[in-house]
Symmetry: C3
Subunit: 204 residues, 3 copies
């Protein structure tokens, strides 16, 4: 269960990387590189910090999923791209899943909840940050600051539900859903209230 969610998050992040790379008119290998870094960047940082083997180097399924999601998204990118929300939704699913995976890998390595939530947040956010930096965009984590907040709240829900003895699979679904809902709601509010932060902003 845990494992397949990790692969699902990898696919969702790869797809979001493909869309960002296509916007920058890269060729196939360029698109694949951005997709790959986006998909495995967060998990790689998590595994480096934990001092464990890097997941995608030991299990080729991560690579296959990335390649598959990349090719699929390249074929359907026009359809996906016409919908403004597609990148945000894919990104949110990846974030929700990776938050859970980061927390659970932290627990497996005997870390306390505060560190596990941090790991979950770093895991979920780092891939997207690298994607945006490589595409020379302001990282979306900065423009939509609720990005990291959603992961932290999701992490709190995780340990709250675990404390209440909710079953592990249910916790996974609830936490991932929490992250996705918070992030999409925040995007929706930002879209309908565009002037709140921009009127006398000091940055570009």
């Amino acid at each position: 269960m845990f494992y397949y969610f990790d692969l699902l998050g990898t696919a969702a992040f790869a797809a979001s990387g493909v869309l960002a790379a296509i916007h920058k008119r890269m060729d196939f290998f360029g698109i694949f590189i951005i997709a790959f870094v986006t998909a495995v960047g967060g998990g790689t940082l998590r595994d480096l910090l934990l001092g464990v083997d890097i997941a995608w180097m030991k299990d080729l399924n991560y690579m296959y999923v990335t390649i598959g999601a990349t090719i699929f998204t390249m074929f359907f990118h026009r359809e996906v791209d016409r919908n403004n929300w597609s990148l945000a939704i894919l990104d949110s699913i990846g974030m929700g899943v990776f938050t859970v995976v980061g927390i659970e890998k932290g627990l497996m390595n005997a870390h306390v909840p505060l560190i596990c939530i941090t790991l979950g947040t770093l895991t979920a956010c780092f891939g997207g940050v690298i994607r945006d930096i490589l595409a020379n965009e302001i990282p979306i984590i900065f423009k939509k600051e609720i990005y990291a907040t959603a992961c932290i709240v999701g992490g709190m829900v995780y340990f709250g539900l675990t404390y209440l003895n909710v079953s592990s699979n249910q916790v996974t679904v609830y936490v991932a859903t929490t992250v996705v809902v918070i992030r999409l709601l925040s995007l929706y509010f930002d879209l309908s209230l565009p002037n709140i932060y921009s009127d006398d902003s000091e940055d570009n």
Copy 2:
């Protein structure tokens, strides 16, 4: 002594991250994320390179100090921010302390002085570089190139004083002071001589 200096550097860097994030109008969790990455980014890189446990994952005091410094700086940011020099001074203290900590952790792991100075410099500079990249600013290490120079000179002072059998605590204070003084003097000269590099500069 060494340990408390590490926590002091962490607090100073967290505060500098808070100021940078507030300039970008982030909310509480966004500010905390930038503060955290700035505070522990350099030490994390150092520990990854050394192949040792990541300091903040094994000792929650780093997290508590970051949270405390973040909340404190948020409350007093108006006062701090009116003083142009506040970010530079906090940043310099963090750099001075982290240079020493990086060198000493290198020595503990049996590395030669050249590698230890490199570790100290990377440790001191990396957190600020990440802060600036995440805030979509040109890294201050690039605009104020004396940044890294101060750490390298501080590292030379460290091994010079150690060679002269100066006591460890005194060395720590002298080296941190050296880094802070070099950096602040260089900032002051840049401020009073603004035209030296800008007249026919090739960059933006």
Copy 3:
């Protein structure tokens, strides 16, 4: 043989870092920092991912080569810089060599070809990406997307020739040459066909 190629790639990447830093008018230590990060950044990422000792921390020759290449390039940068192609050629040589070194270090650590090619590509590309990000340029890997493609094709040539029992030294030369030729040909075509991507590009 393998070892000296690694040092040669380090020198070539250091030189490309020096040129980028001089364009940004940094002082000696600033130039050295950019040169150092460019030269060892890719190998450092590779060694972190493999979980092995970081090459430049155990063998000071990497540091000496970086210092030597930095000083040499600083003295001759005017001559080098008048030739538009100098940075691209140095960069290509570094990429070609690092692709081979990354693949072979992956093989030494018992990884499959797909992972080895990925390691070679990351090793070859990451130093240049850090250089460009630190110099506040759009990473050249993004603007010249054939960058990563050259490494991936080079990796395929590596395993093709190895499968055909070509001797290891010959494979090294052929693969490095393949990467350099693909990259320089692609640069040449981009220079003579500048309007293909820029007419209705969505990015800046």
